[in-house]
Every structure is written in structure tokens, then in C-alpha cells.
Amino acid sequence: MLINTIQIDDTFAEAFNMRATRVIITAQNLKWAYHAANAMTGFATSVIGCGVEAGIERELSTTETPDGRPGVSILMFAMGSKVLMQQLENRMGQCILTCPTAAAFAGIDSEDRINLGKNLRFFGDGYQTSKLFSGKRYWRIPVMDGEFLCEETTGMVRAIGGGNFLILATSQPAALAAAEAAIEAMKKIPNVIMPFPGGVVRSGSKVGSKYKTMFASTNDAFCPTLKGASKTELSADIESVMEIVIDGLGFDDIAESMRVGIAAICELGAASGVKRISAGNYGGKLGPHHFKLHDIMSKTAA
């Protein structure tokens, strides 16, 4: 498939089942909401080393937040509910409780509930108070800047992690510029995050390694400096590859995010230096969710 001279490989991204939650962070202004949210979603690029994958989903206006203050919504993904609960409590305690004027609320409704402020309340040392409004319990914890307000629980839902696509370009600046264009477009899609720095990852991995202790290692087939040394997937004119990884609450959310991201790159055309769009998979044997690039992009073509 060719879109605006850029080749879309006939391949698919392979993704996995995850558990996810959404938290709404509000503060006196957006600046402090972002400080809290950036801290909470820091060091959360991959479940491999961080426990969770997290990111800022979008900004929220004062009419969209429970307390009428500006805020942002955060999505957090983990391989299991236990890890998700533990990571959420740790990050709430160290990043939101500590951030001036910040408050936290449930951002998703479901039968499965996980603790948001339920245990955090004990920081109040007996001075904490709870309030029940419209069936939801909130905790007010006295802190030095006033009160920290936090909903008791938030919802936990089944989700998908690991949607991805690869940008193959003639230079590193070209690949990065195309990735940035894609991320800008993908940020507008709800229910997804791109957890890596700036939404982009340069160190895509393959399963396994020559070293026994490593269960993942560099994806040598897509490393441009190894074109002559390993079984490469790259043509002679490709000098740089960037990957965008997407976690989302549903299959359609991720597919739509991939579609607008790839479409944004294709709009740049041949002058961008992008030659191909591909995707990472494990032969289809590990992940139950397959995002086929041709199927996804045929919607744009249509």
C-alpha cells in the first residue's frame, strides 16, 4: 500500500491484554496540574522496568472536572491488577499528595474498584475526614497548604497495551520530525496514551538475547547501523527508525490512534524523508490483538 508516496507494509502490530485506570488530577491552575501529572506519569514508559505504563491523556477544562478547577486526565496501564493497585498508591502518595493544590478523582467507572485515597487518608494521622457526595466517598487530608482532596477509589478496566508502528526514514531528524507530527495528531484521540518520552521510542526490542539474563534485546533487524551485519529489514536508504507505542482502553481506540498518526506522517509526503511505515510483532503467537496496518489505513483511503 502506498499513501502519498510512503509505503505501508503489509504487517501488523501485536498487542497484549492489560489492566488500566484513569485518574483526574486538578489543581489551582493547569501549571500545577501538569506538575502533579508529570510527576505521577514519570518513569512509567514500559512495564518491563517501571511496573506501569502511564501518560497524560488530555487537558480538562473547568467544566469537565469534579471540583470545577483545571485539570488533566491520566491513564495508567499494568499487566495485572495487583501491580496496578500498588503503583497507583505509590505514585498517588509521592506525586499527587505532595504537589501543591493538587486533588485527585476517579476518571473511570467500573465494577472493579482500586484504591485512590483509601489508604492515603492515614497520612492525616486521625485528622482526616471523609465526605459522601452522590454515593462517592471523598477524603480530606489536612496538609500544610490546606487540604488534600481525594476520591476514595477509582475504576479499573480491561485494556490493551503494545499497539505500535515504526517510522522508517532517510535520516534521524526526518524520522523524529515525522514522529512528532504523528504524536501531535494522536494526542487528540481519547482513551489512549503513548507512554515513551515525547511519545516516541528509539530502542525497539525483540524477544530474547544472546545473554541468558536478558529476555529482550535490541531489535537488530531495524537497527540501521547493523544493515550489513545482521538479517536486516531495512533498505539501503533507511538511516533511522522511530517507534510509537500506544496503550488504549479498547481495540478501536488504539486502531484510530494508529490511523491518525500514520495519516499525519503520510500527509508530510516524500519531502519528509519517510519511506516506509511498518509495525512490530512476534509472529502473532504472543499477543491476542493484531492491528493490521492495511486494514487500519484502508479507512483513511476510503
Binding site: 469534579p66 471540583d67 485528622y127 475526614t129 457526595f133 480530606r140
Partner: protein, 281 residues
């Protein structure tokens, strides 16, 4: 929806226990069975139809033979303050009381709505667990309190009072919301364990007496006793959530917007952590 109307037809010298008039007690009964319900009147039992005229909407010729198939709405007309326990143990449906109500209005109310379009005597919303009780007039002492011997009063639901409340409103209240648009008497929120009480008018002396937890929201400066301690002026963001929760009710409290309050904490006499929030003008 079936509506049953009970019209009081005689002057009452003594109180009548009207717990049997609660909608969930009347479901699946025929009009004849309802008319034959025995009510406690003073020291004696009398038939319901000796006190009330009973009517059912959409009545047919054989209405007295057919059972009411669901929980009916109930209207009590010409009601008086001799009618105790109106709406007691209500679990579903709606009661409208057109006139005054006696003591223990909405006793142990679990779900559903009671609207009293007059005044009520003491112990309204006693032991209440859920639902809505709206008193459009004044109410007596121990609003939302506990019945004798119990250590916890109201444990859920919402009480709206358009007029004034007597002494000890919210005594031993454990959970729920009481909003009083008029004045409240002495010892408001006494021995309060949790929940929220709002008063737009004046409160009497000893507000928050032996208060352990919970919130008393005021708009007029109270005369507080020595063991309620001033914690200063603060902006509390949680108040926006509280005000939003008022929006579902027909009350003047929906006009509140200020998150700026003077916070008092107590009662220190019982090591309490309750709060009295005085909304800044």
C-alpha cells in the same frame, strides 16, 4: 402507578400510630383489607376506616376486591399532629402529607420519598437510613436523632426542612445530610458522629456540643461554647463538590457558592474532630 388517599375524618384526642399507612405495607392488599387494618389509638385498637376515608385512583366497581399490585403512592389529607410514625420503615414509593405530621415522621426511612406539606413534631427522620424526607414547614426537637437506647441516629439519606428545626437537630447523627433553611434550636449537631448538617438561619446555643466528627455548615455567626476552637479562615475546595451535591434537591442551599469559610473544630471536651464551617459572606 396506584395512588391511595387517606383523608382524616375525625378529630383525634390521642395520637394514632400510622406506620401501617406506609406504601410498602399496602402493596398487594385490597381496599377492604386496608380499611380493616387495626391502628393503635391511645390505649385501644381501632379500624383504619374509623379514622380515615380511603380512596384509590382509577377505582373500579370491584376495586375493594382486587389487590393493589405494586407499591402505591400515598396521600394523607387533612393530616394532623396526632398522626405519629407517618412513613415509618418506608422502603419504596412516595408519601405526601397534606397538613401537619406527628412525632417520628419518616422513622427508620430506608428508601423512597416523604413530603410533609406542614409542620412535624419531634423525632422526624429518627433512625433514618436512606431516601428523602422533605418537611415544608417546621419540625420539632431531635430531627435525625436516635430512638431511645440507640447510640446512633440518622444513618443515611437526606432531610430538607424549609422552616425551622427544634433543639438537638442531628443528635448522634452517623451519616447523611440535613439541610435546614430556617433556624435551628439549641444543641444543634450535638453528639454528632458524622454526616453533614446545613443551617441557613440562626443556630441556638451549644452548637456542636460533644460533636465527634461531621460537618455543621452555617451562614450566620453562631454563639459557640469554649470547647469549640477557631482554626481560622480557609478556602476549602471540597465545598464545590458539596454544593454540587445539593443541586439535585429543591432547596435554597443550591445558591451557595463560596468556598471561603471560617473553620471551627471540636468538641474538645470529648476530643472531637467535628467541624463547624461558617461560610464567609
Amino acid at each position: 402507578m396506584t395512588t391511595l388517599t387517606f383523608s382524616l375524618k375525625k378529630h383525634l384526642d390521642f395520637a394514632v400510630n400510622c406506620a401501617a399507612l406506609t406504601p410498602n405495607n399496602l402493596a398487594e392488599k385490597t381496599l377492604a383489607e386496608i380499611a380493616g387494618i387495626l391502628l393503635v389509638y391511645g390505649k385501644q385498637h381501632i379500624r383504619l376506616d374509623a379514622v380515615f376515608d380511603v380512596a384509590q385512583d382509577n377505582v373500579s366497581d370491584n376495586a375493594s376486591d382486587s389487590a393493589i399490585d405494586n407499591t402505591p403512592d400515598v396521600i394523607v389529607k387533612h393530616s394532623s399532629d396526632k398522626l405519629d410514625y407517618l412513613g415509618a420503615h418506608l422502603t419504596a414509593g412516595r408519601m405526601d402529607i397534606e397538613g401537619d405530621a406527628g412525632a417520628f415522621l419518616g422513622f427508620n426511612l430506608k428508601q423512597g420519598e416523604i413530603h410533609c406539606h406542614g409542620n412535624s413534631l419531634a423525632f422526624a427522620a429518627c433512625n433514618m437510613l436512606g431516601g428523602l424526607l422533605h418537611i415544608h414547614g417546621n419540625t420539632g426537637d431531635f430531627l435525625g436523632g436516635a430512638s431511645a437506647g440507640l447510640r446512633k441516629g440518622m444513618r443515611g439519606g437526606t432531610v430538607l426542612v424549609t422552616g425551622d428545626a427544634g433543639d438537638r437537630a442531628g443528635d448522634q447523627m452517623r451519616r447523611g445530610l440535613i439541610l435546614i433553611e430556617g433556624n435551628a434550636g439549641d444543641y444543634c449537631a450535638s453528639r454528632m458522629i458524622a454526616g453533614t448538617i446545613g443551617v441557613l438561619g440562626h443556630v441556638g446555643r451549644y452548637a456542636g456540643y460533644n460533636m465527634k466528627r461531621g460537618t455543621l455548615l452555617l451562614t450566620q455567626t453562631p454563639q459557640l461554647h469554649a470547647t469549640i476552637q477557631d482554626c481560622g479562615m480557609h478556602t476549602l475546595p471540597f465545598l464545590s463538590l458539596m454544593y454540587q451535591s445539593f443541586a439535585q434537591f429543591d432547596t435554597k442551599f443550591t445558591a451557595l457558592t463560596s468556598q471561603r469559610v471560617q473553620r471551627f473544630v471540636g468538641d474538645a471536651a470529648c476530643n472531637g474532630n467535628g467541624e463547624i464551617l461558617l461560610i464567609a459572606a
